[in-house]
Amino acid sequence: MSLVARHLETNGIPTVVIGSAIDIVEYCGVARYLHSDFPLGNPCGKPYDKEMQRNIVNQALTLFERAREPGTTERTPYTWGDNDDWREAYARVDDSNRDQLKALGEERRRQQARIKEAGATRAPLISQ
C-alpha cells in the first residue's frame, strides 16, 4: 500500500496512510503516516466505537494540512486495551505451534507449486 501512496504523491496527489504496521510503512517511506497502535485489522478505530473511528479519520484529515515534509508520522492517542498482551499474538512462533507451522509450510509449498503450474502470475503476499 505504501508503494501506491508513493506513486500518487509523485504524481501530484497528496496522501495520508492510516495503518498499524509502523515498521513496514516507515521502511518503505511515505509522505504522511498516521499510526494506530492496534492489532492489525482496525486502523480506523476499534470495531463499533463510532466516536474513536470519527476522531481517527479527523486526525488523518488534519494531517494533510499539518505535515510540512515527507516522512511525517503521527500517532493516534488511543491504546487497544488495559495490557499489551495482544502484541505477542500475531505470527507467534513457540513450542506450541512449531510442528504445526512446519506442516503448514509444506502444504503451502505444494499449493504454490500448483498455482505456478496453473500459470498464475499474481499471488497474495501472505495468506494464512
Binding site: M1, R6, T15, A21, I24, A31, C44, V57, S127
Partner: protein, 157 residues
C-alpha cells in the same frame, strides 16, 4: 518506532522461517519520499479511499487486480480472509473500523471536506512489488484522475 511497537517484518521473517522457507521476503525500502503540497483546503477537496480489503462478492474473492466499487451505499461487509490481520485479537465485521466511508461521507455532508470520491479502490496485497508499482499504482492514479480526486487516504489492514 518505539520500544513497544510490534516489529512486523521480523515477526513475519521468523514465522516463515518456522515454516521452512529459507529466503526472507524483502520489503520495499526507500530513504526518501516525494511530498505534494495541498492545492486547496480540505473543505474544497475531493478525497478517495484505497483499501487492501476486497469486495465481499464472488468476483472480489477471486480477483487479484485493482477492484473499483461505488462508495454509496457503504458496503455492509468486505472480504478480508486472505489478508494478514490479527485474527486472534480482533475481527473485521465492522467495516468502518478499516474502511472509512461512513466517516468521510458524514464529514462531506458537514462541509468539513469538499466531497468523498464516488468510488473506492481495493488494492490486492501482492508478493510482487513490481505488480503493485508497475500495474496497480498506475491504475489507481488513472482512476483517481478520472474521478477528479484531490487527496487520497490509504488504509491497509
Amino acid at each position: 518506532m518505539t520500544g513497544t511497537d510490534v516489529r512486523y517484518m521480523q515477526r513475519t521473517r521468523d514465522y516463515y522461517r518456522a515454516q521452512g522457507y529459507t529466503s526472507d521476503y524483502q520489503w520495499a525500502r526507500h530513504t526518501e519520499a516525494d511530498f505534494t503540497e495541498l492545492e486547496n483546503p480540505l473543505k474544497e477537496s475531493r478525497l478517495a479511499i484505497v483499501t487492501t480489503a476486497m469486495p465481499d462478492t464472488s468476483v472480489g474473492k477471486k480477483m487479484r487486480t485493482v477492484t473499483i466499487t461505488a462508495c454509496l451505499p457503504p458496503p455492509a461487509s468486505m472480504f478480508t480472509d486472505e489478508l494478514s490481520w490479527d485474527k486472534e485479537n480482533t475481527h473485521t465485521r465492522d467495516v468502518p473500523s478499516f474502511l472509512p466511508i461512513e466517516q468521510l461521507a458524514a464529514l462531506a455532508s458537514q462541509g468539513e471536506i469538499g466531497s468523498l470520491s464516488p468510488r473506492f479502490f481495493s488494492l490486492p496485497t501482492e508478493y510482487s512489488q513490481n505488480n503493485t508499482s508497475e500495474i496497480d499504482a498506475p491504475i489507481i492514479l488513472q482512476e483517481c484522475r478520472a474521478d477528479k480526486v484531490d487527496l487520497a487516504l490509504l488504509v491497509p489492514l
